[in-house]
C-alpha cells in the first residue's frame, strides 16, 4: 500500500515534470508593452517598457514601437535589464520618428559566442512626452528574436495604450490617491469635532 502510494506520487511528479517540460517546449516568447494601459497628464513625461516573457536562449532582438504622434512624442529609450544578464551587450536604442509615430529598429544583442538568456524580464524602457489630451495605442511590430545559434525565435507581441488627460485635470483617469495617514488624521479631527459639537451646552432662548 505504501509502495503503491509512493509509485503514485512518483508518477504524479513525473507527469508534472513532463508537463512542465512540454509546456516550456511549446511556450512561445511574448513581447508586451508594460503597462498595457496608463493615463498621463499632457505635458508630462512617462515611461513605457517592452518586456519579454517565456523566452529561451535569447541572444538578440529587434523591434519597432508605434504610437500616435499627435498625442505622444518619443524622447529616448534605454536598455532593459533582461538581456544583459547573459553578458556584455550591444544596444541600439532605435530611431525616433515622431512624424510617423515610430521608434524604429530598437535592437540589442549579446556579444561573443555565448549562450542566450532565458526567462522573462524587461528589454527596453521608452520615455515619452505626453503632448496633448488623447489616446495612443502602442504596438510592437517587426520584431525578430534570435537565439545563440542565430536562429529565429517565434514570438507573439501584445501592445498597450496611453490616455493623456488635459493639464487642468491631472490624473483625471486615475483613481484619487489617498494618503492613509492623512485620512486617518482627518477622520480623527472630524470625530473630535462631532464630539465637541455634541457636548456643547445649549443656550436657553433669550
Amino acid at each position: 500500500m505504501l509502495k503503491s502510494l509512493k509509485s503514485h506520487k512518483i508518477a504524479t511528479v513525473s507527469l508534472i515534470a513532463f508537463g512542465a517540460v512540454g509546456s516550456l517546449a511549446n511556450a512561445q516568447a511574448v513581447l508586451s508593452v508594460d503597462p498595457s494601459g496608463q493615463s498621463v497628464t499632457a505635458g508630462s513625461d512617462f515611461t513605457v517598457d517592452v518586456d519579454i516573457s517565456n523566452v529561451t536562449n535569447l541572444y538578440g532582438y529587434q523591434f519597432d514601437l508605434t504610437f500616435n504622434p499627435s498625442v505622444l512624442e518619443a524622447v529616448s529609450s534605454s536598455e532593459g535589464s533582461f538581456l544583459s544578464q547573459g553578458g556584455a551587450t550591444f544596444f541600439i536604442p532605435g530611431t525616433n520618428d515622431n512624424v510617423a509615430g515610430t521608434v524604429f529598429a530598437t535592437a540589442d544583442t549579446l556579444l561573443t559566442a555565448i549562450n542566450g538568456v532565458s526567462g522573462s524580464g524587461q528589454l527596453v524602457a521608452f520615455t515619452f512626452d505626453a503632448l496633448e489630451a488623447g489616446t495612443s495605442s502602442m504596438s510592437i511590430v517587426n520584431e525578430t528574436l534570435l537565439d545563440s545559434n542565430l536562429n529565429v525565435i517565434s514570438d507573439t507581441a501584445t501592445g498597450g495604450s496611453v490616455t493623456v488627460g488635459s493639464g487642468s485635470v491631472p490624473g483625471a483617469t486615475k483613481a484619487p490617491e489617498i494618503d492613509p495617514a492623512s485620512a486617518a488624521t482627518a477622520l480623527v479631527l472630524l470625530l473630535a469635532g462631532v464630539a465637541v459639537m455634541r457636548g456643547r451646552p445649549r443656550f436657553p432662548p433669550i
Binding site: Y61, A107, T112, L146, L150
Partner: protein, 448 residues
C-alpha cells in the same frame, strides 16, 4: 650503310639489298631492337622472296640464345637472302656500328631512312643528322635527343595521339622491321603518375592479308623494363588483330620519374606489307630522349623525365634518390571549412594529410578559431602526406559592430545602406547581421 641507334641489329634499306631482321636479346639483358627506318628507295628487285624460308630464318633468330660472339653469325644468317634476291649476292653482315651489307652491296644507291610523319600533330619527329648513322663517330653526334619533338600546341606536353596515319608502307621489307614504341610518361610531372596506354595498329595498310595468309607471322613484341626486370611484356600477333584495334590490352604503368625506364619493343613483320604504328592512346609524352650512350650496349634507352631532365629526385617517402619512387596513396581532402581549427586539424591528420600553413584572417561572420577556407579544397584528391593549408578566422571587431550599427535598419537603395554591414546579403541590415558580427567577436570582447 645504316646504323641503328637503338640496337646493333637492324634492317638495312639498300637499293637492291634486303631488310634485316633484328634479334631481341642481348647478353644478360632484354634488349629492344628498334629501327625506325622506312625504305624509301627500296627496290622491288628484292622481291619476290621465299617467304617460307624467311619465316624459318626468323624463327631461328628468335629461338637461339645469343651471346656477343654469336650475334654476327646468327643474325648474319638470319638476314641472309638465301634465294630469290639476285642483288644480294652474299650474306649481309654488319659491324658494331650498324648495318652494313659488307661486300654484298652490289648497287650504288645510297641508303636512306626517313619518317613520313604528317603535319598537324605535335609529334613532328625529325631525325637528327647522325642519329641513324652507323659509325662510332656518328654516334657521337647523336647525343640526346636523337628525336626531337616540338610541343606544337604549347600545352607543355608532347601529344602523340593521334599518331600520324599517313605513315604508310612502313616496314615494307622482306625481313622483319622493328618499329619504335614510344615510352609513356607523365604529363603532369607528378611522381608516380599512373598512365595508361594502348598500342594500336593504325594506318591504311596494316597487315596485308597475304602476309598472314602465307602463314607468316607479324607481331609486336617487346618489353618495358627497368633494366632488370620486365614491367610490361608486349606480344601480339598482328595477323590475328583487326586493324585499328588494340594490339595489346590497355597497359597501366606507374612511371618512375627520375629513374630510367627502358623500352624495348617493335613490330616484327615479314615480306609483304607491315604497315602500322604503335599508337599510344590519349597520352602526352613530355620528353622522349634516346640516350646515345646506350646504343653502345645495344640497348634502346629511352627515358621520360617529366620534370627536369637530369635532375635529382628524392622519394619523399623512402628517401631514395633517383630510385623507383614509391607511388603515393591518393586520399580525398576532408572538408574542414566551418570547423574549429582543432577539429579541422584532427580531420586532416586522420585523412593521412598534414597541416600546412595556418593563416589568421579577420572575419565578420566566422567566430575566432573557425576555419574560413582550405587549400586544397575538399573536392581534391591528393597524395597522402600532402599539406592542407588553412585560413582561420581571428573573429570580428567592435569596429565591425559599429559599421553594422551605422547602417542598422537600412535597406538596399537607402542612403544608410552599406553592403559590408549586410553580412548575410539579404538586402537589409538587421538584427541578424548585428548578432552575426557580435557572435564572431573574440571571447571577452566588450564593445561600447
Amino acid at each position: 650503310m645504316f646504323w641503328n641507334p637503338i640496337g646493333r641489329y637492324f634492317s638495312g634499306g639498300r637499293r637492291g639489298a634486303i631488310s634485316l631482321y633484328p634479334s631481341i636479346f642481348d647478353v644478360g639483358e632484354i634488349i629492344g631492337r628498334v629501327d625506325v627506318m622506312r625504305l624509301t628507295t627500296f627496290s622491288l628487285r628484292v622481291f619476290p622472296v621465299n617467304r617460307r624460308i624467311s619465316v624459318l630464318l626468323y624463327a631461328v633468330c628468335l629461338a637461339v640464345p645469343l651471346d656477343a660472339s654469336a650475334q654476327t653469325a646468327f643474325c648474319g644468317a638470319a638476314i641472309k637472302s638465301t634465294t630469290g634476291d639476285p642483288s644480294c649476292s652474299a650474306n649481309a653482315s654488319y659491324s658494331n656500328n650498324g648495318i652494313q651489307a659488307a661486300g654484298a652491296d652490289t648497287d650504288s644507291g645510297a641508303e636512306s631512312f626517313s619518317f613520313a610523319y604528317s603535319a598537324g600533330y605535335d609529334a613532328q619527329a625529325s631525325v637528327t643528322p647522325g642519329a641513324l648513322q652507323g659509325s662510332a663517330s656518328a654516334a657521337a653526334t647523336s647525343t640526346p635527343p636523337d628525336y626531337a619533338y616540338t610541343d606544337a600546341d604549347g600545352d607543355g606536353a608532347i601529344l602523340l595521339n593521334p599518331v600520324p596515319t599517313t605513315l604508310t608502307s612502313f616496314g615494307i621489307g622482306w625481313s622483319a622491321v622493328w618499329q619504335p614504341i614510344f615510352l609513356v610518361g607523365s604529363t603532369t610531372g607528378a611522381l608516380g603518375s599512373v598512365v595508361q596506354f594502348t598500342i594500336t595498329a593504325q594506318g591504311s595498310g596494316s597487315i596485308s592479308s597475304d602476309v598472314c595468309a602465307t602463314g607468316n607471322d607479324a607481331f609486336l613484341s617487346g618489353y618495358i623494363y627497368n633494366g632488370a626486370a620486365a614491367l610490361i611484356s608486349l606480344s601480339q600477333d598482328l595477323c590475328s588483330t583487326v586493324n585499328n584495334t588494340p594490339l595489346v590490352a590497355k597497359q597501366t604503368l606507374t612511371t618512375t620519374v627520375g629513374s630510367t625506364l627502358y623500352l624495348a619493343a617493335g613490330f616484327a613483320g615479314h615480306a609483304g606489307a607491315l604497315a602500322g604504328f604503335p599508337n599510344f592512346d590519349n597520352y602526352d609524352v613530355t620528353t622522349f630522349i634516346q640516350d646515345a650512350s646506350a646504343t653502345s650496349s645495344g640497348k634502346m634507352l629511352v627515358y621520360i623525365d617529366p620534370v627536369t631532365p637530369g635532375a635529382t629526385y628524392t622519394d619523399t617517402q623512402t628517401g631514395a634518390v633517383n630510385g623507383y619512387l614509391t607511388p603515393p596513396n591518393y586520399v580525398p581532402v576532408p572538408p574542414v571549412v566551418g570547423e574549429s581549427q582543432s577539429s579541422a586539424s584532427a580531420a586532416i591528420v586522420s585523412a593521412g594529410l598534414i597541416i600546412g600553413t595556418v593563416t589568421q584572417q579577420p572575419s565578420m561572420t566566422a567566430i575566432a578559431g573557425q576555419v574560413i577556407s582550405q587549400n586544397p579544397a575538399a573536392t581534391a584528391t591528393v597524395a597522402d602526406g600532402s599539406a592542407v593549408n588553412l585560413v582561420v578566422s581571428s573573429g570580428s571587431t567592435c569596429t565591425d559592430l559599429q559599421l553594422v550599427k551605422a547602417a542598422f535598419g537600412s535597406k538596399v537603395g537607402q542612403p544608410a545602406y552599406n553592403p559590408m554591414a549586410d553580412v548575410n546579403s539579404d538586402g537589409v541590415v538587421n538584427i541578424i547581421d548585428l548578432s552575426t558580427v557580435a557572435h564572431a567577436l573574440p571571447a571577452g570582447t566588450v564593445c561600447n
